[in-house]
Subunit: 254 residues, 2 copies
C-alpha cells in the first residue's frame, strides 16, 4: 500500500489537475528522485502539469513540532524568486521562518540526498560506532551533496542553508526521523523487510539511495556514502564491508 | 581553579619552551579566543614561542570514543600545508582520518564559534523548543561562522569540513558536549554560577561568547546568535528576550 514520493506527486497532481490554473503556484513538499526516470519531484510535477508554476517547500521541520507552534525555518525555492517571495508572504509566521532561493535544483537535491545520508548515520549509530563517526559521516555527506549539486548546476551555497545542512542535521540526529531510525534498526541487525514491513509511512531514503547511485554514475560524480548505503540495502555488501569501504578510502585534503 | 583555553595554552607553552626547537611543530588542540586580547590560540602560541611552527588539530571527536578506537575524522591546519601533511603522516590511523588545510584562521574560528552555537542549541533544547528549532539555529550558526570567517580572511569552504559543520553538529547535538549540556541546563532555568560551579572541566564557549561579540563588533559582522548567547549569559537579557530577538529578525534570502 505504500507509495514512493514520485508516485504520490504524480497521483496527487493527476487528481488536482483541474484546480491548477492561471499560474496558481504548486508547492511540492515531497522529496526524492524517481527511480525509473531519474527525475526529481519538480520535474515529475512539470510532466504531470505542463506549464504550471512549480515551487518547493523543504527544510528541517518535524510536522508535529510545527503543528505545536514551535519555531522552525524552511526553504522555499522557485525558479522565479518573486514566486518564492509570494509563497513566503502567505506562509511566514513568527514561528515559521522561510528563506527563499531560486536554486530549485539545489534545494531539491539537498532534500533528497539528506535522507540517504541520514540512513548511513543511523547505521553507524545502530552499529555502535559512536557520535564522532556520525559527525564525520554527516560532514562528508554534505561534501557528496555539494559535488553532485555542482555537477547538476546547483549553487554550492544552497547546501549551507535550511534545505541542505539544516535538514541533514535534523534528519540524521533524531529518532523522530523515519530515515535515521531505519538506519539505526538496520545497523542493529534487522533486515530491510523486517523494518519496512512494520511501517505505515514511506522511508524516502530507501528509494532515493538507488536513484542516487544511478544519477551519480550518469554525472560521473563520486558518492561513496550513498553507494555504500545502496550496496548494504540491496544486499550486495554486508554492513561491515560497506563501512570498511569508507574507512579504507585514501586520505583527502579538506 | 579552572583556566581558560588561552591560559592553558600560555601556561603549557611556557613550561615546554625549552623543548620547542628546530622547527619541531607545535600542535594546538585548544579552541577559543582570548578575551583580553581577542587573539585566537595559534596567535597566543605565536606570542609565547615566537618563530615556532604552529599547527592545530580540531574537529568532531569525543576523546572517549577515539580512545576506544571508534572511527572519527579531524582537521589538521598549518600555514604550510607540508607541515600539516607531516603531522597527518604521524597521526593517521584507519580509525582516525585527518583532513588537511592551510586555512588556519578558518579552522580555528570554526572550533571556537561552534562552542557558542552549541550553547545556543542547548538553550533551545533545554527550553523545550524542539529539534526543528535547534536545526534552524545550527544552520544559521554556520552562516554566522562563514560571515566572520570571510571578514577575517578564512576560506568559506573550510566551514563545510570537519572543523566547521562536522564539529558544530557533534557539539550541538550531544549531551557528551560540555557546551551543549551547559546550554541545556541554562535553558532549563539554572544559573551560570550553578552550572559552572558543579564542573571540573572548562566550558570553552562560555568564555568564547564574550570574546566573539567583541571580535564581531570590531569586524563589523552581524552575529545575532552569538550576541544572544552572550546577552543571556551576562544577564543583560532574559532567555525569553534573547530568543525573541532571533525570532523577530527580518526574513532573509538563503
Amino acid at each position: 500500500l505504500l507509495v514512493t514520493p514520485a508516485q504520490f506527486v504524480r497521483g496527487t497532481l493527476k487528481a488536482l489537475k483541474a484546480e491548477i490554473t492561471d499560474g496558481k503556484p504548486v508547492v511540492i513538499c515531497s522529496k526524492g528522485i524517481e527511480i525509473s526516470t531519474g527525475l526529481m519531484m519538480v520535474q515529475v510535477a512539470e510532466e504531470e502539469v505542463p506549464g504550471a508554476t512549480i515551487a518547493i517547500l523543504t527544510g528541517p521541520t518535524f510536522a508535529r513540532e510545527s503543528a505545536n507552534g514551535l519555531p522552525s525555518a524552511v526553504t522555499i525555492a522557485a525558479k522565479d524568486k518573486d514566486v518564492a517571495q509570494e509563497i513566503r508572504d502567505v506562509l511566514a509566521t513568527r514561528a515559521l521562518r522561510p528563506y527563499i532561493t531560486d536554486d530549485v535544483i539545489g534545494a531539491e537535491l539537498g532534500g533528497a540526498i539528506k535522507n540517504v545520508i541520514a540512513i548511513a548515520c543511523g547505521m553507524v549509530i545502530g552499529k555502535g560506532l559512536g557520535e564522532s563517526a556520525r559527525a564525520a559521516l554527516l560532514s562528508r555527506g554534505l561534501a557528496e551533496m555539494s559535488r553532485l549539486g555542482s555537477a547538476m548546476g546547483a549553487n554550492k551555497d544552497t547546501f549551507s542553508g535550511m534545505c541542505g545542512i539544516g535538514d541533514l542535521v535534523l534528519t540524521a540526529t533524531s529518532m523522530q526521523s523515519r530515515n535515521f531510525s531505519f538506519g539505526v534498526a538496520f545497523g542493529e541487525g534487522k533486515t530491510t523487510e523486517q523494518i519496512l514491513g512494520s511501517r505505515n509511512a514511506v522511508t524516502e531514503g530507501f528509494y532515493t539511495a538507488e536513484a542516487l547511485t544511478t544519477l551519480a554514475r550518469n554525472q560521473a560524480v563520486d558518492m561513496p556514502i550513498c553507494q555504500a548505503v545502496f550496496d548494504c540495502l540491496s544486499g550486495t555488501k554486508t554492513l561491515d564491508d560497506g563501512i570498511a569501504d569508507l574507512l579504507d578510502r585514501p586520505l583527502k585534503n579538506s
